[in-house]
Amino acid sequence: MAETNRLYAELPAISINESVSRVMISGFLMNIRGVTVGEIEEVKVALSEAVTNVILHAYPEDDKGKIYIKAILDGNQLTLKVWDKGCGIPNLTRAMEPMFSGSGSAERTGMGFTVMQSFMDGLDVRSSVDSGTSIVMTKHLGIGT
């Protein structure tokens, strides 16, 4: 029978926690049968994108809330959920278009959701204005398993 493992974390939405979340998920995935370094790297990038979205967009500058992270491992199947209780995304369809950035900054590529889609098998984003946003990503880990 496939082993199940779970991880849950609540972190303040501050930028230092981008790397904290990556270290956490690396450790969580490390002992999966057949998992490759490349697969772990892809999950780290996808998680980093989701966490950075919360830090940059979910909460006002002077009232930073929390990032919620849940990972469930059912055998080699990973389900990763990242959510917040922030301002939500008013136009989700537009926000998910490649190269669209709500910030208008030249420093933002607007590629966060595209990267998540590219590096994971499944992506489901739900958002409600003034209630928050949740991102659920899935990935089968371990070549040939």
Partner: protein
């Protein structure tokens, strides 16, 4: 994120070491811009062989620096990107705007030859 800078005449070799995420980008952006805005800088080699992780914040940092370099007629080249970092660079077509090299030595050689061509052509 650690940044080491070596300057020789009009060239700057910038070696980045660590993880290039939004947190790190906030810390190194101004330093990179400072080098690109120096009137003596004609070329910058960004050695990314020590960058173990990059996400779209890093992509944004590189894209914006490539625009600034183009605006200031500075030749920007990238060296030593790992396959994972290279994949993200290609995702935003940065490889079409900035030459990529496997090593900093190759990148420096390219920049030297380019500067020599500029000198010959006046």
């Amino acid at each position: 994120m650690k940044m080491e800078i070596e300057r020789s005449r009009c060239m700057a070799l910038v070696k980045l070491t660590g993880e290039l995420d939004h947190h790190a980008c906030e810390k190194i952006r101004e330093d990179l811009d400072g080098i690109l805005r120096m009137s003596s800088t004609k070329a910058m080699v960004l050695d990314m062989s020590g960058v173990s992780f990059m996400d779209s914040s890093g992509m944004g940092l590189l894209l914006a620096r490539s625009r600034l370099a183009a605006d200031r007629s500075v030749s920007l080249v990238i060296a030593g990107a790992t396959p994972e970092v290279g994949k993200l660079i290609c995702m935003v077509s940065l490889d079409k705007q900035v030459p990529l090299f496997d090593t900093a030595e190759q990148a420096l050689e390219y920049v030297k030859n380019e500067r020599e061509q500029v000198r010959i052509n006046g």
